[in-house]
């Protein structure tokens, strides 16, 4: 004897028209003696009819041509890349920037002039003779010619630590001009 599951599967196949002709005839003869099977078939047939009626009502309410036209239009529309960069914001001139450039350049120019001026001012004073702050103290030999004699140049420290030049000549003559 067939299981309930097998009978139910065959009944579904009968309803879906998937049985061979001889199997379908045999199953129908068996359903004549099966009120449950017949009831199941009738229920399925009612459901199918209701669904057909509902789909027919719904289909009648839409414009299928417009629907398909819209679908085709959406499919043919240009593809927008996902990572498209955001458009650059429009640049605008900040009020007063030009004025700042002008004054900045002028300030740089005057600073350069001031630097030149101060560099000259900071240079060692030329007019003030000895004794002024920063003047080199002492004495030094620039050039010497001993002539026929020999000599030596020394440096001796003065009272203030300055270096003083000493030109020592080796005298060959004794007290004679």
């Amino acid at each position: 004897m067939e299981s309930a599951k097998t009978q139910d599967e065959k009944l579904q196949m009968l309803f879906d028209g998937e049985l061979a002709p001889d199997e379908e005839a045999a199953l129908r003869r068996s359903l004549e003696g099966s009120p449950e099977g017949s009831a199941q078939l009738r229920e399925w047939e009612q459901l199918r009819a209701a669904m057909k009626n509902a789909s027919a009502d719904w289909a009648g309410q839409i414009d299928s041509d417009a629907l398909f036209a819209r679908i085709e239009a959406d499919l043919s529309a240009p593809v927008i890349p996902i990572d498209r960069p955001a458009p650059q914001p429009e640049l605008r001139e900040v009020p007063g920037s030009r004025e700042r450039r002008v004054w900045g350049a002028a300030a740089i120019g005057f600073a350069a002039a001031a630097a030149i001026f101060l560099a000259v001012i900071a240079a060692p004073e030329g007019a003030a003779p000895g004794g002024s702050p920063g003047v080199t103290r002492g004495s030094e030999v620039l050039e010497v010619d001993f002539g026929a004699n020999t000599g030596t140049i020394f440096e001796v420290e003065g009272g203030a630590g300055e270096s003083l030049a000493v030109i020592w000549i080796d005298d060959e003559e004794v007290g004679l001009p």
Binding site: R101, V102, A105, A106, I108, G109, F110, A112, A113, A114, A115, I116, F117, A119, V120, A123, P124, E125, G126, A127, P129, G130, G131, S132, V135, T136, R137, G138, S139, E140, V141, L142, E143, V144, D145, F146, G147, A148, N149, G151, F154, V156, E157, G158, G159, A160, E162, L164, A165, V166, I167, W168, I169, D170, D171, E173, V174, G175, L176, P177
Partner: protein, 167 residues
């Protein structure tokens, strides 16, 4: 943009003109200094190794107590002539040994020091010291020593502008 260039040009020209004016003022002062006369003093000292007195006026010259002068135990000032040095003009100082010291102020340096030419000549003979050029600051001496005289050694010190000495 044109305004910026004009302002920069004005600023740089201002600085350059100021620097030029300052530099020219230095040049003028330098030229002025070369034509002015400066006082000078010559110390003619007889130094001997024998123990003796050291002239009190020389005690301020600490250099005369240091080498190569520290072997001298006595020092006497033979003369102390004062003279005026004028650029380009020779100033002569007689020495006790018959020789003469010729001093010439060449120029005043930009730093205020004096460039001096010195020579020691002998009458009717070749120069004893043909040429010596020294640069010295005001009040700081240079010495020419070594000439033998009366058992000692002549030490000639030259001080330009001695009133400004710090010693």
């Amino acid at each position: 943009m044109i305004l910026i260039r004009h302002l920069l040009l004005v600023a740089v020209l201002f600085g350059a003109s100021t620097a030029a004016a300052q530099g020219s003022s230095l040049a003028r002062s330098d030229r002025a200094a070369t034509v002015s006369s400066v006082p000078a003093e010559v110390l003619v000292v007889l130094a001997k190794e024998e123990p003796g007195k050291v002239d009190p006026q020389l005690k301020k010259l600490t250099a005369l107590r240091r080498p190569p002068f520290n072997s001298f135990r006595s020092m006497a000032i033979l003369s102390r002539p004062k003279l005026t040095l004028t650029p380009g003009k020779d100033a002569l100082v007689s020495l006790p040994n018959g020789r003469r010291v010729k001093l010439t102020l060449l120029r005043i340096m930009p730093d205020g020091r004096y460039k001096v030419k010195a020579a020691i000549n002998r009458p009717n003979k070749s120069d004893y010291l043909p040429l010596l050029q020294v640069v010295a600051s005001a009040g700081d001496p240079f010495f020419v020593a070594g000439q033998t005289y009366q058992g000692g050694t002549l030490v000639v010190g030259v001080i330009v502008d001695p009133k400004k000495t710090a010693q």
